[in-house]
């Protein structure tokens, strides 16, 4: 029997902007080495929750623990190296694909060899010819792949992916899904994945959290999602609560 390890623990986490509650009293654990999908309608607080986890925002109440340590006590630069986030827009910095891949190392006053850059590029399914291509000339799907590779350069323990396929076509989406599965299977990478698409969550994830109006209304194995009893979750799964 294998013991399940916990990568992250959320304990009554809330986040307010002025008096408006964006995240409301969320608790739960994220299993290491698994893919956990975060689904829910727009404005449910999914992206905000990810930003709280790697402290691009600070939660106003509760505790988030990473490797048994309160994230607020870990230096933000160290925390963000260990909990990498791939942002929704596939933001590229000016320069080539290599410049983008070398960025995380540059930030640590280190360098990334071309061979190492190439291995990260191949890992995300892009060929060598892309290495010296201008980043701004890439397609949406290619940018997202480079974004993933760039985040992987830091070798994070946890990888957060914020709706990275939302603006991609079907072919690019499938390629990214394959990559995610591969990263999880081969490298046992812990992946937290935000998606609007329930079917995508079912295809990819071991566990699912359903967020609605800042509250977590379901968390558990994805294959038991259809057995959820919360009416708002049922409505969302049936496509009746997409607001």
């Amino acid at each position: 029997m294998t013991m399940t390890q916990t990568a992250l623990t959320l304990d009554h986490v809330s986040f307010h902007i002025d008096d408006v509650a964006i995240i409301k009293d969320i608790s739960g654990t994220i299993e290491a080495g698994k893919i956990t999908a975060f689904v829910g309608p727009s404005g449910a607080g999914k992206s905000t929750l990810f930003r709280l986890i790697n402290q691009l925002k600070t939660h106003t109440k509760g505790t988030i623990t990473f490797n048994n340590e309160d994230v607020k006590t870990i230096h933000p630069m160290i925390l963000r190296k260990n909990i990498g986030i791939v942002l929704q827009e596939g933001v590229m910095t000016p320069g080539t694909v290599y410049d983008n891949l070398a960025l995380p190392r540059q930030l640590q006053n280190d360098t990334l060899s071309e061979d190492d850059a190439l291995s990260f590029l191949l890992k995300v399914g892009l060929e060598e010819r892309f290495l010296h291509k201008k980043a701004k000339e890439l397609s949406g799907g290619q940018k997202q792949k480079v974004s993933i590779a760039r985040t992987l350069v830091n070798q994070p323990e946890v990888l957060l992916m914020d709706e990275i396929t939302s603006s991609l076509d079907q072919v690019s989406t499938q390629a990214i899904e394959t990559l995610i599965k591969q990263l999880n299977k081969e490298d046992h990478q812990t992946i937290l994945w935000i998606t609007h698409n329930i079917d995508q969550a079912k295809r990819l994830s071991d566990n699912t959290w359903v967020l609605i109006d800042g509250k977590c209304r379901y968390q558990g194995p994805t294959n038991q999602l259809d057995e959820a009893t919360d009416q708002r979750v049922i409505d969302f799964l049936e496509g009746g609560d997409q607001s």
Partner: protein, 251 residues
Amino acid sequence: MTYFTLSLTLLFVLIPLLLAYYLKLGIEKDILVATARSVIQLLIVGYLLQFIFDQDSPIFMMLMVGLIIFAATHNARKKGINYKGITWKLILTYTTIELLTQAILIGLNITPATPQYVIPISGMVVGNAMVLSILFLNRLTSEVEDKQDEIELILSLGGSTKQAIHRQLLTSIKASTVPTIEKQKTMGLVQLPGMMSGQIIAGADPIQAVQFQLLILFILLTTAILTSIMLGFLSYPTLFTEQMQLKQTFK
């Protein structure tokens, strides 16, 4: 020039006023206010300078320089309300630039330490620094607003706040100093600088007027670069929280 002759120059105010009224531009009130303010402010400054020159006292001279720095700070701080402690950052920047400039000028015996030299040069130095800091703060604010994705990307990859804002800081420094450098390139070709024109009209030797103008141009170049660099490095930490997050004000 007599006061009667001076009053005739009001014709130059009457022309835009009539045109504005005729074309219904809605700026008549602004023209009148600007005219009244410039007359009153310049006359007060004129009498104040005459008084200070007559006293020939370093204390009055320093008070006048302090007043220039205060007025410049008061004007520029409105553009930097999002930057915590901007008033002190501006005062520190203007004072440093003023001290550095006067130390070089007086220390190397380029100009004497008399109110006739110190006050007008301080006015030009601090005035230019004020315009530069307004340009810089405007540009930095818009750069941060436009490029917040890029800034957050670098933070998310484990970068420091300085690394995250580096590109925007350099762009803002460059953009705010470009007008000073470009103006210097066309100096004498497109326009004769105000100070030089004033000296020539007052009967000074044109070569001597050019020498003084060159001195001022070189000082303004230093001022431009120093203002934006100093203000930039003093201001950027206030864009971030202690947890190295981009503040909500800029999002």
